[in-house]
């Protein structure tokens, strides 16, 4: 059987770690950041692992032998064995298959909802902080009002307005998560806009939007990236909660969140493989994400380069 994923092939495809230490400049902030990122071993490991998980998710139909939805009630729950590497759940569905299919939803929700929250949060926070004064006050109070509303109600409202689909779930989650991001960015911007290089840019006649885009936002990237890597696990777990309420992923489709919440009840039935493997997958992915996020933050700071 060829269900095995060829890990070594993926590893080989990554760029070798660069040992080019010259100060000679690259072409852009991003090219430089990439060069520095490749020097950070943990970040590269994290990136490779994430690429691996993402490829498996993308290629799920070709890599799995069993169906994620077909039940085998006669088989029932069996512990890991030669045929079902990670065992089966109480309905006789192969756990590995369900985890792989679950990664599609979970990664999507992680990436899309976080992107939505970063996009809204950075823009809102940057404008609020940069403009300042009454506008800032108004924007922040509005945010606090939203913040005070219960999370579930907000998601339900968004889902009702947009219609119920898995993609709207991503948007709804992002539309909730941006609030903390906006506050973090605003705080950063308030201190950044007092820097002399902002004054210098203003004194050379640069347009306000260009100042926000080119001078303010890049300087907030560090905390934004760190917080974004924390947002990913948060939205993955929130998706599980919403799915449990029937607002998110519907059975028989699975996500890591739903698998874990199903697994919790299976603990009492002494079927630990139902919770251990989804948790392990989630954990390793989040760990890889944090390594990568950390490396990215360091790489994006031109001063952090050791050369």
């Amino acid at each position: 059987m060829t269900r095995a994923v060829n890990i070594s092939a993926i590893n080989k495809s990554t760029t070798p770690v660069s040992d080019d230490l010259s100060v000679e400049a690259g072409t852009s902030l991003w090219a430089d950041a990439w060069r520095r990122l490749l020097k950070n071993k943990l970040a590269v490991v994290g990136l490779v692992y994430l690429v691996f998980v993402a490829s498996v998710a993308a290629l799920a139909p070709f890599l799995t032998v069993f169906s994620y939805e077909e039940m085998d009630l006669i088989l029932g729950a069996v512990p890991p064995n030669d045929t079902h590497w990670l065992g089966t759940d109480d309905l006789g569905r192969d756990m590995l298959t369900r985890i792989i299919y679950g990664s599609r939803v979970s990664l999507m929700v992680g990436i899309l909802a976080t992107s939505v929250s970063v996009a809204i949060g950075v823009l809102y926070g940057a404008v609020s902080g940069y403009v300042g004064g009454r506008v800032d006050n108004l924007m922040m109070r509005f945010l606090e009002v939203l913040y005070a509303l219960p999370f579930t109600i907000l998601v339900i409202i968004v889902m009702v307005v947009l219609g119920r689909s898995i993609y709207n779930l991503f948007i709804a989650l992002g539309a909730i998560q941006w609030m903390v991001m906006a506050r973090i960015v605003r705080g950063q911007v308030v201190s950044i806009k007092k820097m002399e290089y902002i004054e210098a840019a203003r004194a050379s006649g640069v347009r306000p939007l260009a100042i926000i885009w080119r001078h303010v936002i890049p300087n907030t990237l560090g905390p934004v990236i760190v917080f974004a890597t924390l947002t990913v696990p948060a939205v993955i777990l929130e998706e599980a909660f919403l799915s449990f309420l029937g607002l998110g992923v519907q059975p028989p489709m699975s996500s890591w969140g739903t698998l874990i919440s199903d697994g919790v009840s299976a603990m009492q039935a002494e079927m630990p493989w139902l919770i251990v493997y989804p948790c392990l997958t989630l954990m390793t992915t989040l760990l890889a994400l944090n390594f990568f996020g950390d490396g990215l933050r360091d790489a994006l700071d031109p001063k952090s380069s050791k050369d």
Binding site: E196, Y197, E199, G205, R214, N219, K303
Partner: protein
């Protein structure tokens, strides 16, 4: 006499704070001739920088407000322009360099990006052409290997080199007026001299006018055609550099000159003007310098504007003391 390039009359910029009205700039007037250098001297908080910020429209409003005055630059009053019109002048026709080169460059952007940004903002120009101009500007301010260095980040430059980059940034659009706000304060002495030399030679080459703001009389002495001494937002004394240094009239200017440490002076204690600058929201009713003045008389504390004395053709002093001192 040729026409002044910049003519500031009775400029007043006040800040409305909870502690009261701060008259940061209170009735400053000066003329800037084409190709000449004006030095503005004063202690911290005397309103030097606020004067310049007012001209460029960089005063945060509120709390700041330009209450009165005019500032004619090339026939237009800078103070009445819209934000957009001011933006087109900033960096293109009047540009400014700041005190601290360590924080005046964005650490996230390459020098090339920051230099060309000014050009893209003011001219229709291809990126190739902009880059060429940026390299030229860096060469002009004496940065070696400019073509290479242009792709470096600010932290890869020393303080003096960064100030050169700042000057290049200010000059790249070929402005008519360059305002240098304490350009050498954050630099060490040898570098200070280099930067001043550079400013002087660039001014000659480009034929622009220069306004140099400083609290260092030594800087002013070497470079200025005309000197303005400010105290608590008001003009104190005005004249040529020679007038200010050799025919000093105002007690405050005298105090400033006396407090320059001299290498040939063995005195164990350095001279300083007694007292502190007044709280800008509670200025004395009469002459603002009266409480610290060593030669003050009763009349000085009286309510009302202090008369402007004409010492010679271009030398004025705002003091009750008769000409020649008493």
């Amino acid at each position: 006499m040729s026409e002044a390039l910049l003519q500031v009359k009775d400029l007043k910029t006040y800040f409305y704070t909870r502690a009261g009205v701060v008259k940061a700039v209170d009735g400053i007037s000066f003329d800037l001739m084409p190709g000449k250098t004006l030095g503005i001297v004063g202690e911290s908080g005397s309103g030097k920088s606020v004067t310049m910020m007012s001209l460029l429209g960089l005063i945060p409003q509120p709390p700041g407000k330009i209450v009165g005055g005019t500032a004619f630059f090339d026939g237009v009053d800078l103070l009445t322009l819209s934000e957009k019109e001011k933006r087109l002048i900033r960096g293109k026709r009047i540009s400014m360099i700041f005190q601290d080169p360590m924080t005046s460059l964005n650490p996230y952007l390459k020098v090339a990006t920051q230099l060309t940004e000014v050009l893209f903002e003011h001219e229709r120009i291809t990126s190739k052409e902009a880059r060429k101009r940026a390299i030229e500007a860096l060469e002009q301010v004496g940065i070696p290997e400019a073509a290479n260095r242009i792709d470096h980040y600010p932290h890869q430059f020393s303080g003096g080199m960064r100030q050169r980059v700042m000057i290049a940034m200010a000059l790249i659009a070929k402005p008519q007026i360059l305002i240098a706000d304490e350009p050498t304060t954050a630099l060490d002495v040898t570098v200070q001299a280099q930067i001043l030399e550079l400013l002087k030679s660039l001014q000659k080459d480009l034929g622009m006018s220069l306004i140099i703001i400083t609290h260092d009389l030594g800087v002013v002495a070497g470079i200025s055609d005309e000197v303005l001494v400010m105290y608590a937002g008001k003009l104190v004394e005005r004249g040529s550099a020679d007038d200010i240094f050799y025919r000093t009239h105002h007690p405050y200017t005298q105090g400033l000159l006396k407090s320059i440490p001299r290498i040939d002076n063995d005195a164990s204690e350095l001279y300083s003007i007694p007292g502190l600058p007044p709280d800008p929201s509670k200025l004395p009713a009469g002459c603002p310098f009266e409480p610290r003045c060593s030669v003050s008389k009763d009349v000085c504390a009286q309510v009302g504007a202090v008369p402007v004395q004409s010492i010679s053709a271009n030398h004025e002093s705002v003091c009750y003391r008769p000409e020649g001192g008493a």
